[in-house]
């Protein structure tokens, strides 16, 4: 086995430690920025849905502000965010480079996207269900948890899946500007030092990660769909 690998991907096999570190870096970046984006996205997604005209906490100003801010950050190319947020990153994380330095721009790139995913998932909850819950005397926070969130678990799972996969793409881009991770690994060796086997190996690993996440997401969504 080892012999075959040595023969097929010689440049990878001599630096498995670097590969492992890159893999860990990617997971750390996706994990942290994903988790933070999840919290921000779910809060903003809920806020967008419930403050929309005609909904339980209708609030024009609140809705418009969130809506426009989300649009603003979604329209900035990620590569621009990467460079533009370096000062903010230094302020929050203490550094603008490396894995730590990438998390702030990753959150800014990912959270607005995830917010829209959450908004779409929560919007699928029929207004009739909200009305039924209100007629039973539920308060707004109860409606958010017991109706909005509970009824859209499948949609949320699908949104999370799509978001994580696109986040993995973003980390590869962050890698290009020195954040580490698998993207960085592929660029540094595969491209810059002309080692195609490194590039191919990275691609295969990414395909495997994406596939596993997609399967997991589909499974959770299916488990929670009763239609």
């Amino acid at each position: 086995m080892a012999e075959i690998l040595n023969q097929w991907i010689p440049n990878v096999m001599v630096r498995t430690d670097v590969l492992w570190q890159s893999f860990v870096d990617t997971i750390v970046m996706v994990g942290w920025s994903g988790a933070i984006s999840f919290v921000i996205g779910i809060i903003l997604g809920i806020a967008l849905v419930i403050t929309r005209p005609g909904n339980i906490m209708e609030n024009r100003v609140c809705y418009q502000v969130i809506d426009k801010v989300v649009n603003f950050f979604r329209s900035i190319p990620f590569i621009v965010l990467l460079c533009g947020l370096v000062p903010l990153s230094r302020l929050i994380m203490g550094t603008g480079i490396g894995v730590r330095g990438a998390i702030v721009p990753l959150v800014f790139g990912c959270a607005p996207f995830f917010t829209r995913q959450m908004e779409a998932a929560l919007s699928d909850v029929s207004p009739g269900l909200i009305e039924a819950a209100q007629s039973m005397g539920l308060s707004n926070p109860e409606i958010i948890v017991r109706v909005y969130l509970k009824e859209s678990i499948a949609g949320i799972a699908r949104g999370v899946t799509i978001t994580i996969i696109s986040l993995i793409g973003l980390t590869a881009m962050a890698g290009a500007v020195g954040a580490g991770g698998l993207g960085n690994f592929a660029i540094m060796y595969g491209h810059d030092r002309n080692m195609p086997d490194v590039t191919y190996t990275t691609v295969v690993i990414l395909v495997v990660i994406v596939t596993v996440i997609q399967i997991l997401g589909n499974y959770i969504a299916k488990k929670n769909t009763h239609e």
Binding site: A132, Q134, S135, E227
Partner: protein, 370 residues
Amino acid sequence: MQDGLRSDAPVKDIRYLEKGGIALIKFEHVSKTFTNNGKVFKAVDDVNIDIKDGEIFGIIGYSGAGKSTLVRCTNLLERPTSGKVYIKGEELTAMSEKELRAHRKKIGMIFQQFNLFASRTVYENVAFPLKGSGLGKAEKEKKVRELLELVELEEKAAAYPSQLSGGQKQRVAIARALANDPEILLSDEATSALDPRTTKSILNLLKKVNKEMGITIVVITHEMQVIKDICDRVAVMKDGKVVESGNVFDIFAGPKEPITREFVENTTTLSRIYELVDAKSDVTKLQPGQIILRSNYLEKNVSEALVSQISRKFNLDVNIIFGNVELIGDNPIGGLVSIVQGGKKDIEDALTYLKEKNVGVEVILDGRNS
């Protein structure tokens, strides 16, 4: 199972007592206005209704008449623009959000689209309103089982709503609406999405809920059949206003407003005579001296042998084209369409005789002068 259903909460409003506890729900000059793109639309216009404890009260109207908005004023899902709503003498429209939520728990509601939670099983749907009710786990379970038994769906407890038929979904919705032992059940077009047979079974269930548990039911519908089958009293709505209201029997026997007449006509076959006359059908080709007579039994006199009486007394030939007798509550109501032949004077006397007997008469086609 409904022990303790009637709460003996102190009555805060004297008006409730004055009437001897008659008006369970009271609408006082209730209006609701919507503004859409600068256009003002009066969905409910100065409605005054008293709904009595223990009755089934129907509100009928075409879509857009404001009946759904009005029923939502009962639990303030829609807040009236002006006017007051009382439940058991307490003014709902003056309550804080928190008080209002507590009251809503005592007002069950079912919907045309059932509005079951798709991600929860039948059991979980029925148990849904019980969270925070203070019942223990075992009590909750007992309660849900009892409710499922009431709606005859015990064996479906573990099923998801998507696995149920429309009628079964509405039964689950009814069980869920009854979970908190409400005193009032609001039914918003609950049978409008169901086929006639399922509609009957749901209506029977509502009747049972009313009779056995003493729950007052407010039924919103556009089908007179529903009113006829289960309601004690009815209000007819048009353009946001209640144009006519009263006992269902009286409304059927003597509808006053054109729209009420339309609703009543739609439930009988008698009105088909007008179509036949318009189509100049063979049935309606009269010999000279004949008339087509429509008679409506306004009072409970259906059982009298009026047809044979007039034919004997006035020497008339009476040929019945349509007949329709139905039961509203326990009272028969109905009418006949017939071709009457005889002497001019005899026919005139017969009509007078029928009017004296309190039978509504209408000459639909007159061949006496041709």
